[in-house]
Each structure stands twice: as C-alpha cells, then as structure tokens.
C-alpha cells in the first residue's frame, strides 16, 4: 500500500454506500441461487443414492472431485464455454455445495433410528409418507448443518467470481488489489465475513424454529 495512506478511509466508505449495498445484494443473490440450485440437485442425487445405495460411492466420488478443483482454475476453464456470466459463476458455486449437501442429506436420513422407521411402517405409513413425515423432519438438523457449511463456503467463494465480472463484495477486493488501495479491499473482505456471520445466525434461527423438538431436554 502507499506509504502514509491510512488503512481505512472512512469518507470513501461513506461516499460509496450505494455501490456497497448494490454489491452486497449481488453477493446475496449469487449465494442464494447457488444454495437453492445446489439443494435441488443434491436432493435429487441423494434420493437416488438412498434408493440405490450402490450409487452413493460414485456420486460422492464425482462431487468430491468437483470439490477439490481449485476455484480459480474452474472459473478460467468455464469462461470459454459460458463466458463472463452469472451462469459461469453459478456452475462453479453450485458444484462446490454438492458434496457437503449430499453427505448431510444422506447421512441425516440414514441416521433416522431404525425403530422409528419400523414403527412408522408397522402403523401403516406408506414409504412416501415415511420420507416426508418422518425421515426428512428428523434429518432436518443434519441437513441444516450441511446448508450452513455450504452457505459459508459459498459466501467466501463468491468473492472469487469477481475475476469473471461477478463477485458481489469480491468486486471491492479485486478493485483494492488492483489499485493498492486498502479501504475497498477491507470493505470487501470484512463485509464478506460479516455477511457470512449474519447469514449463519439467520440459518440457526430458521433451523430452531423448524425443529422445536430439538430444544427440549
């Protein structure tokens, strides 16, 4: 950074509030789309894995491989096909959510006690009713744990998509690096962390209100 330059120029932040809130909203959108699409795909693949247990290892194998690809390389690889677009960003972001979400959905449902399933079947629940009324509610706590990890990971990764013209708060990080200007860099980095903390807290509240039974002792 330039010598003599203060770490944070508060007046720069004050004069850029509109852009900060716009980028924050963009960050929220990119994250939400990634998690929602990731959940849809993860539920579909989990359903297959639960019905055909033989397919669980290949499913986690492939999504596990996706998870290990460095994000920078993945976006660079996708640009020639899908361009500098939201689609490129989301393909990457969604890919990184799948392993965590699938593991938690399958693990959560497999973790439902066998005697609860046996009682449900023995009392005349259909397999579909068992899934919706017993297994999914009971797996909710584990599934939410996965959603929380996937969401925090995604919020961090969204900043990388600044390189392909998206990025939410990551835009400020890139901007700060290019100009050797610490204020926007900190706005992007600290903003992204604060955003993750707030969203995580909100998810905890949602989970608690959805699983009132887990709070009794």
């Amino acid at each position: 950074m330039t010598p003599g330059e203060p770490l944070v120029r508060w007046e720069w932040i004050g004069s850029h509030m509109d852009e900060i809130s716009f980028r924050l909203w963009e960050h929220f959108e990119l994250t939400t789309i990634a998690i929602v699409v990731g959940l849809v795909i993860a539920f579909a693949l989990s359903y297959i894995a639960l019905r055909l247990p033989r397919l669980y290892p290949p499913i986690t194998g492939v999504t596990g491989m996706l998870y290990t690809i460095p994000s920078l390389a993945l976006f660079a690889f996708l640009v020639p096909y899908t361009g500098f677009s939201i689609l490129t960003a989301e393909i990457g972001l969604v890919s990184y959510t799948l392993l965590i979400l699938i593991r938690n959905i399958v693990g959560g449902i497999r973790g439902v006690p066998a005697e609860v399933r046996d009682a449900a079947l023995g009392m005349g629940y259909t397999p579909r009713q068992i899934l919706w009324r017993v297994e999914l509610p009971l797996a909710l706590a584990v599934i939410f744990a996965g959603i929380r990890v996937a969401t925090i990971t995604t919020i961090g990764l969204v900043t990388v998509t600044a390189l392909i013209g998206e990025g939410g708060l990551g835009y400020f990080i890139l901007f700060g690096i290019q100009l050797f200007f610490s204020t926007p860099l900190l706005v992007g980095a600290v903003g992204s962390v604060l955003f993750a903390v707030v969203v995580d807290g909100a998810l905890v509240l949602v989970q608690r209100s959805l699983t009132p039974w887990s709070r009794v002792q």
Partner: protein, 333 residues
C-alpha cells in the same frame, strides 16, 4: 397372583388370528417352518423361544412387515395376504421393544398417528388422545404437548402402547414391549397392560424371551424352536406337562414353583380342621392365595402347615404333602 380370565371382559371385540402352515425361508435358511396356530379372540397369545427361533419373524408376518414364503394367515377368516398391507397395518396395533416414538412429534401427536392416517375428524382424535393418555395414567393437559425426549423409559413405553391402541384395533402385535425397562417398571407396565387388555378385549400376539413374562401374561403360550412350534398350551398345562426336554429346560427347573403360582389354596385338597391350639405359629391362609405364597409361609413357620380360613370359616389344614401331591399328580416324570 391368581388370574381372573373372564371377569373384566365386558365387551369382546378382539379378532381371531389363524396361521396355517406358515413358512418363511431366506435362501436355504428356514426361519419359520410350517407354523400353524390360532390366537383366540380377546386373549393374549405369547410366542416364546430362544433367539433365532422365528418368534419375531412370525409376529412380523401377521402385519406383513415380512411376507411369508408359503402358507396362509387369516384374521377373522380373511386372508390378509390378499389385503393392501398399508390398510391392514392401520387396523393392527404394533408395539416394539425400542418403542420407536416419533421424536419430532409431541406425545399427543404420537398417540394420534393412526387416527390421523385414517382421517378421523379432529374432535374425535383429540377426545381419543385424551382418553388414552388418561387410560395409561397420564394427565392429558400436562403430557399432551411434551416431546418423547422429555419422558422416562417407562413413560415412553406406555405411550407406545397407547399409540398402538389409538384406532381401537381388534388385534395388537407386541415384540418384547417391556424388555427395555428395569424389572420394577416392567412389572408395573405388565399389570397395567393386563388390565387394559382385559378391559378392551383386544387380541394380542406377544413375543418375549422371558418365560416368567409369558406365564404371567399369556393365556396361551407357543414355544418355538428353530422355526417350529414345539408346544402350544395354556401356562399351567405347559408347566405341568412340558412336551419334551427342550420345553422342560426352557420353562426352568423351578417350573413346579411357577405352576404353584398359578394355582390357589382354594383348589387344593385339605386335611380336616385341627384344633388351632395344637397349631401354634401356623400361618393363616385364604382360599384366594396362590399355592406358591402359601408354601412360602408354611416353610417359614415352625409347623410346616397352614390353617385355611375363609373369613370366620375354618376350612381345614394344608400340608406340604398336599402340595407335593398336586405337583406329582400332573407331572409325567
């Protein structure tokens, strides 16, 4: 404790269950081998035997959690293998050892499970839930909205029984329902359950590996071994005439004592009354007392005999040789 079979059975709405030559094979293994037996309406039929004898498999074929390889199962004459399994299960109560309450539902919602599946109107469900919670000794207002995690093991087991009875099934299947609680709670749950079952007249098929529980609860006991029925008889007959060495060993070397618990002083032959002054220290027995309790009191006294009295009426004297005669009379060995 002497048993009263007919007394409390006001209304009989239990179903009769008949197994005809029922066989279940898993590959080369035969889990249940040509099992035929009839569980009479309104009675408790106990299936008992060592692990792997096929008792649980037999039970689970009655609500088609397991499909028989061959044979027929009839409930009130209807072949259940031609019925929709889901509809069948909704009219059969089902209780298992680990209870399997839904942890995410309140006690009230758990009890309401089958009525909700059957689409009962809300008001009827609410009334039935409160009725059942009262029947198992709960205060509905206090317990209805609690979650299973807030209950003790014994309380959960009671809720499991209430849930199985909710839609007034004519038949209940119970797989070691009291196996996971401590002996004191188990005894209380057994007594409560007997009362409930007698009052409601439900047919029960009950799996256990505990011979004392079988003798206490069973109107009829089916002893199984390697998938086959070895003996099917009322408890007293089982204890008096075990079909073979396996049954004799299974019911225990103290089967004589167990049988005495099922017989009363009133049914025993007595010596004519002797002047009480000559029987100083002899215990006073009543006709309703079990012979086992009478024996215990007689052995503890100096005289080794007991005076049998029915109120002011002095009926006679019970001696050890009378009890020995009863045991020998029925025993083939």
């Amino acid at each position: 404790m002497p048993r009263c079979h007919a007394g409390a059975m006001a209304e009989r709405r239990g179903a009769t269950v008949e197994l005809r030559e029922v066989t279940k094979r898993y590959g080369d293994t035969v889990a249940v081998d040509h099992l035929s037996l009839t569980a009479p309406a309104g009675r408790i039929t106990v299936l008992i035997g060592p692990s792997g004898c096929g008792k649980t498999t037999s039970l689970r074929m009655v609500n088609r959690l397991i499909e028989p390889t061959s044979g027929q199962i009839l409930i009130d004459g209807q072949n259940i293998l031609q019925e929709d399994p889901t509809a069948l299960r909704r009219r059969i109560g089902y209780v298992i050892q680990q209870v399997g309450l839904f942890p995410h539902r309140t006690i009230g919602q758990n009890v309401a499970t089958v009525p909700v599946l059957l689409g009962w109107p809300d008001a009827r469900i609410r009334a039935r839930v409160d009725e059942l919670l009262s029947l198992i000794g709960f205060d509905p207002a206090r317990m209805r909205d609690r979650y299973p995690a807030q209950l003790s093991g014994g309380e959960r087991q009671r809720v499991g029984v209430a849930r199985a009875m909710a839609a007034e099934p004519p038949l209940m299947l119970m797989d070691e329902p009291f196996g996971a609680v401590d002996p004191i709670v188990r005894e209380r749950l057994q007594n409560e359950f007997l009362q409930l079952q007698r009052a409601q007249g439900i047919t029960v098929i009950f799996v256990t590996h505990d011979i004392d529980e079988a003798i206490k609860l069973g109107d009829r006991i089916a002893i199984m071994r390697t998938g086959k029925l070895v003996q099917f008889a009322p408890p007293a007959e089982l204890l008096a005439h075990p079909a073979d060495d396996f049954v004799a060993r299974f019911v225990g070397s103290d089967r004589g004592l167990k049988r005495l618990a099922l017989l009363t002083v009133g049914g025993a032959e007595l010596d004519p009354p002797i002047d009480p002054s000559r029987l100083d220290g002899a215990p006073v027995l009543t006709p309703a007392m079990s012979l086992r309790d009478a024996l215990a009191e007689m052995l503890a006294s100096e005289t080794q005999v007991g005076m049998v009295r029915d109120g002011a009426n002095y009926l006679g004297v019970l001696t050890l040789s009378h009890i020995g005669k009863i045991l020998r009379a029925d025993d083939p060995k």
